[in-house]
Symmetry: C2
Subunit: 533 residues, 2 copies
Amino acid sequence: MLKRYLLAACTAFMLLGTAAAQSTEPVDLDMVSRIRQEAFHHSQVMQTLGELTEGIGPRLTNSPAMDKANAWARGKFEGWGLANVHDEAFEDFGRGWEFSQASVEMLAPRALPLFALPKAWTPGTDGPVEGEAIAVAFKTKADLEKYAGKLRGRIVFLDELRAYKPGTEADFQRHDEASLEDLQEFAVPADRRDDRARRIKEYRERQDLAQAVRRFLVEQGALAAISISDRDNGIVRATGGGSRKAGEAVGVPELGMIAEHYNQVMRALEEGQSVRLRLQADSRFTTAEDRAGYNTLAEIPGSGPRANEVVMLGAHMDSWHTATGAADNGAGVAVMMEAMRILKAVGARPRRTIRVALWSGEEQGLVGSGDYVAQHLAAYPQPSDPAQKDLPSFLRENRGALQRKPAYDRFSAYFNLDNGSGRIRGIYAQENLAAMPIFEAWLKPFADVGATVVVSRNTGSTDHISFDRVGLPGFQFVQDRLDYSTNVHHTNLDTYDHVSPEDMKQAAAIVASVVYHAAMREQKLPRKALPAQ
Amino acid sequence: MLKRYLLAACTAFMLLGTAAAQSTEPVDLDMVSRIRQEAFHHSQVMQTLGELTEGIGPRLTNSPAMDKANAWARGKFEGWGLANVHDEAFEDFGRGWEFSQASVEMLAPRALPLFALPKAWTPGTDGPVEGEAIAVAFKTKADLEKYAGKLRGRIVFLDELRAYKPGTEADFQRHDEASLEDLQEFAVPADRRDDRARRIKEYRERQDLAQAVRRFLVEQGALAAISISDRDNGIVRATGGGSRKAGEAVGVPELGMIAEHYNQVMRALEEGQSVRLRLQADSRFTTAEDRAGYNTLAEIPGSGPRANEVVMLGAHMDSWHTATGAADNGAGVAVMMEAMRILKAVGARPRRTIRVALWSGEEQGLVGSGDYVAQHLAAYPQPSDPAQKDLPSFLRENRGALQRKPAYDRFSAYFNLDNGSGRIRGIYAQENLAAMPIFEAWLKPFADVGATVVVSRNTGSTDHISFDRVGLPGFQFVQDRLDYSTNVHHTNLDTYDHVSPEDMKQAAAIVASVVYHAAMREQKLPRKALPAQ
């Protein structure tokens, strides 16, 4: 195995060396050195993360805590002397929601505390409620009528029992040379034209069933609903339920329960036992009407002829509500904020304007960044077909010509961080092959802290896609996974303790250096061809 | 690596082959076959485990649920036609205790539900209480006075913050040939005479400090105390606190909190923030006075001249209280019960009497099995020195001659299962070298289900030690670890879902066959020399 690692390492270094030599991309090693000194030896990144995650707490989009986070971020940016610090609204996102406490307790056949947490945008219980558990199987709308008249005063268990899946790999993983090498492979995409139609159909059926279930549970007088966490080992993964949109059915109070307890209730029900529960969810909508959400932005202004060109960096500040959103994505926010602080601290005077954005609404479909791009950079025409209009942006077919704003041509690139708190091991070039030798040159001074790969492949599911979708260079870094997907992603364990300070310092240095070089470079970053329309 | 596995496998098989050939130990393959058929194809072991763990729940020694478990086990044994089904008391164990629900909630500086569960034998709160958190450092009794006058109405955080330790190995592990081979090595013991004196001193200091802290917290009017779970990833490990003995100080309500939440409170306190908590623990002592604990026993009587000789098998039925005691040790209980059921089902007519014991008080120091051995088999004289008398049995020096009961000479061997729910991979011979070829012969028909090793080394920490200590053959099987030490041991995750049905069936077959062969063999099992006195 050792031999393979060595070979892979050699190949990686050879590639870097060759590409950099070919590109003659300039790197300001004096500035890199100053950035590293500030990032590694005078870091504030964990202080920033602590204030955001433990001072403010979870930051569900449009919650009061998210408003606090916007105000706090503006304060930090102003304190560091950034310019043009402000929030920007994206309209009609939905209602605010928050929760403070929840408890579920089995009263019969025997006393047992059960661990569950509320789903966002579901109502609270207004004090404790008590009722018998009932298991249902709502696979299609036709299933609902089987339960008519059976749910009044009951607590409804929505999912099937799920067997424990032993954890046969370590929770915590870092890339090794072999896994980094694997990332170099690009999978030629399968034809997905038919796939889109199928996905739209499935999406509509799912939405339709979910709404019918919410209405049915309310009509039938169910007290609450419980679903099973999709993690084992006592981890709660409970994201959104109900509806965030004013006027839509929010259903009954719904909680996600750990598998170990959910299964126990289900086995008792299968044996025909009467399972009595007491349940309380101190959850509440904080606005009756839909309201705007807010991104927070700030700049280090450029100077000279390229001052009206822009390099952006960003991360989403909104989080799910069951923990403090530390890895997803307090970490990304703290690193991007720290990168701006470092650039100010080292006295960077960029040619292009460097603009940082802390997005909201990411968890609900890149809403904040998508709206920003549409307002400032470019957008496809809104579909006139109401059925298309209802679809989330990732399912819509973009029909018509892209409508570009003046800033579109002055935009260089956007850099994002949102794959947990693991250190940067490289960057996804998002099929922008012309950008690869540039990135290779920029990352070379960080090979000694583990950032070694530039890969052609795409990565998705976060805010750089809002830029990529309209043909603008938008990138997400390759990061060490740590325990992101195993323990913390969207779970009650996404807390400060699971974040590694050394990784955060490393990431802040690299981001600061990359955006600095993007702001200083002779040309804007090259663009790839627009996606087929 | 493959080569090493193959070599190890070959060595293991050669050892087995040679030893078995030398011993000419008879194996009744027809009976083994019948036992396997019943164990693998007509198993009731998971039904038994379900009734015990989910029907009855956690079984803290002397709790009402432990009484239910004793009664349930008697009913199962009687239903299977076992003889001499009865409970045996061990005196003055302590008080009963149970809890039904607990909650902790941060009210300020912001709302946050905190996850914690009560320690056994600590009092409840009699409804919710509210107070400010305070961190203390009680390293010695001298530290207490620093906090005089500062704890009234406060919730006391007893431990230091502990950094997250990434899980770099898989939670779930099975033995491979390499790890089984490692078990073949015997570590020649270091001289521990001085060590005992040090351990006694440390034990006394710990006990003394704990009692002083309990008294101090009550005197000072603290509302409750919180300690940190010694597991990461949201797992609560909260065993005993307070005192089970009537007349001793039980202290204030004490709970164990997940590290992710404990650390968060500690960081807020370190920053000088005022942290206000609401806490409720619905815990209660179920007896005012010390009461007896109970082991449950049953037999398949022998017949013929060896009928008054005994082979025993057992496992402890008591558990900790935060989960349902499935791996520790519902699994051992269900397997031992199933082994007895299988022997009845296949019509076994043993020469020696086969006696099963389901112990209580194991978690508090092998109390039930220790008392049983002292009453029926042998004991060292009770120390006259009151200081020695106060020590738990594992720290006492046995002075004076072992006092043997008549049954001592008629006792063959005791077999125990208590290392989680993992399948049997072999047996610890506990330095009884003469027993090794016998075990090798008995395990050979189970090599195809993974039971391949007989190792000379000792293993401790469970009830076979009560027999071993008085020179009687007492054995614990080598088991696959699964997620015993990582997730479930003494934690809130020790539930039915973490138990593998296939492993349970395998173990029941092997135990049934081993005890059957022990009961049928010409001679009792050989004994090793008595431990030095």
